[in-house]
């Protein structure tokens, strides 16, 4: 007599969701710094809503909720940058990059709340790596960690590489990141020669991964930045990955590839370029596939199993998930049960 069939396990997929997660807290890439000139503004969709991205006349970037706290006009349609402020087209109320209302041109008496606190939701921003970054927190709390120094992209000399790419995936950011610890899929989905060993360590918002005993050494700084160094053929090439949550179910993966500025014609330069080709999946004669050709078909169609059936040989998926939970500080019990 066999055991009873566990109907719960067999039928669970009907109730599974593809992306049961809120937008995770963290620093996220908004756009490259040189795409927004002083005085310019435009609407961007990130974190499940629209925002007005603008740069003040002095060069400071700002990112605000589109809807004016006064009577709800969309400031990204007809509004403009005025000096250090964004100005609503409807009644010319003005706000600074921190969301404080700085001018109501016709009120004799300023409402007291205007002097006490910001009234427009804006996101904390920094410019680093030649990019604009915004801090997202569902409860508008201040940043709890800083973006790291990355020599490959911040050192004025010594490194080079202009290759970068952008891909949109129909899934959430946690599902994409989980592949980093799922080393078994490297053999079967990507066709790597074997399942590399992996070790992971977790320290607050930082996760360090070592895949293949030093072959790939990666550090994640929250959900929005991952620096992976590939050590092969005697050189190190670096992939800086900065994925954006467009919505709860769509993410844009962005990557910059950098390497040491070796002289033209040297074997080190050749090796560096070859490793980068391999990362993207464009190398000729490769025995394994880069992410572009194989990961999307899984991401775009899978469902998330909160209680996966894991086996000997799988990577530290559950530890990763436990670490990632810190980025959902506002999740209620019902949501936590699904993730």
């Amino acid at each position: 007599m066999g055991d009873q069939i566990n109907l719960k396990v067999l039928l669970e997929s009907q109730t599974l969701e593809r992306c049961p997660f809120p937008i995770p807290t963290g620093w996220y890439f908004v756009d490259y710094a040189d795409t927004l000139k002083a005085g310019e503004m435009r609407n961007v969709t990130l974190f499940g809503q629209e925002w007005v991205l603008f740069r003040t006349e002095s060069g400071k970037p700002g990112m605000s909720d589109p809807y004016c706290p006064h009577l709800g006009a969309h400031m990204g349609h007809g509004g403009k940058v005025c000096g250090e402020h964004i100005r609503c087209p409807f009644h010319h109320w003005e706000y600074d990059t921190a969301g404080w209302c700085k001018n109501i041109p016709y009120a004799k008496v300023t409402p007291p709340i205007v002097k006490k606190q910001a009234i427009l939701r804006t996101l904390p921003m920094v410019e680093k790596y030649g990019m604009m970054w915004a801090w997202y927190h569902p409860l508008c709390e201040a940043p709890s960690f800083e973006l790291p120094y990355i020599p490959e992209i911040e050192d004025a000399t010594g490194y080079t590489g202009s290759r970068r790419g952008s891909w949109t995936a129909d899934t959430c950011i946690q599902e994409i990141a989980e592949n980093g610890v799922d080393v078994a899929h490297l053999k079967f989905l990507h066709g790597a020669p074997g399942i590399p060993p992996v070790s992971a360590s977790y320290d607050g918002p930082v996760m360090k991964l070592d895949i293949g005993q030093g072959y790939i050494v990666g550090t994640a700084y929250g959900p929005g930045l991952n620096v992976m160094r590939f050590n092969q053929h005697g050189i190190t090439a670096t992939m800086i990955s900065y994925t954006q949550p467009i919505s709860a179910e769509q993410s844009r993966m962005n990557m910059s590839f950098r390497h040491v500025d070796y002289a033209e014609g040297t074997p080190e330069l050749h090796a560096s370029k070859k490793v980068i080709d391999h990362m993207i999946g464009a190398a000729e004669g490769e025995e394994s596939a880069g992410f572009e050709s194989v990961d999307f078909i899984v991401w775009n169609n899978k469902k998330y199993r909160p209680n996966p059936l894991l086996c000997d040989g799988d990577g530290p998926v559950l530890q990763f998930r436990k670490w990632f939970k810190q980025f959902y500080p506002a999740a209620d019990a019902a949501t936590l049960a699904k993730i």
Binding site: K108, V109, T110, I113
Partner: protein
């Protein structure tokens, strides 16, 4: 309805039948006495400022910090008195029968 004595900006006095369960501001506004109540009770406009008769000052609910801040913001434009109140913060019920207020000048 609760009868409230009101001294208007022109100095004339009258009795206003204020609606129970609503803020005094609403009845003053609807009586055409120049009270605007623009912000609807959010304490951000200061257009329902009144002076409460001294005898009544302690019989009304105390000012909140937000109300005190809004009244303070009016200081550059109109006279403030110790009994200055925002009438949107005075709830009307039988307990204020006979309340006497003076409508403060327009900002």
């Amino acid at each position: 309805m609760t009868a409230v004595r009101v001294k208007g900006r022109d100095g004339t006095e009258q009795t206003v039948d204020a609606t129970d369960g609503m803020a005094l501001m609403e009845s003053l506004r609807d009586a055409g006495l120049g009270v605007e109540g623009t912000c609807g009770g959010a304490m951000s406009c200061g257009t329902c400022h009144v002076y409460v008769a001294a005898a009544w000052a302690d019989r009304l609910p105390a000012r909140s910090q937000d109300e005190a801040d809004m009244i303070e913001a009016l200081a550059d434009f109109v006279e403030l008195r110790p009994t200055s109140r925002l009438s949107c913060q005075i709830p009307v019920d039988a307990g204020v029968e006979g309340l006497s207020v003076e409508i403060a000048p327009q900002v």
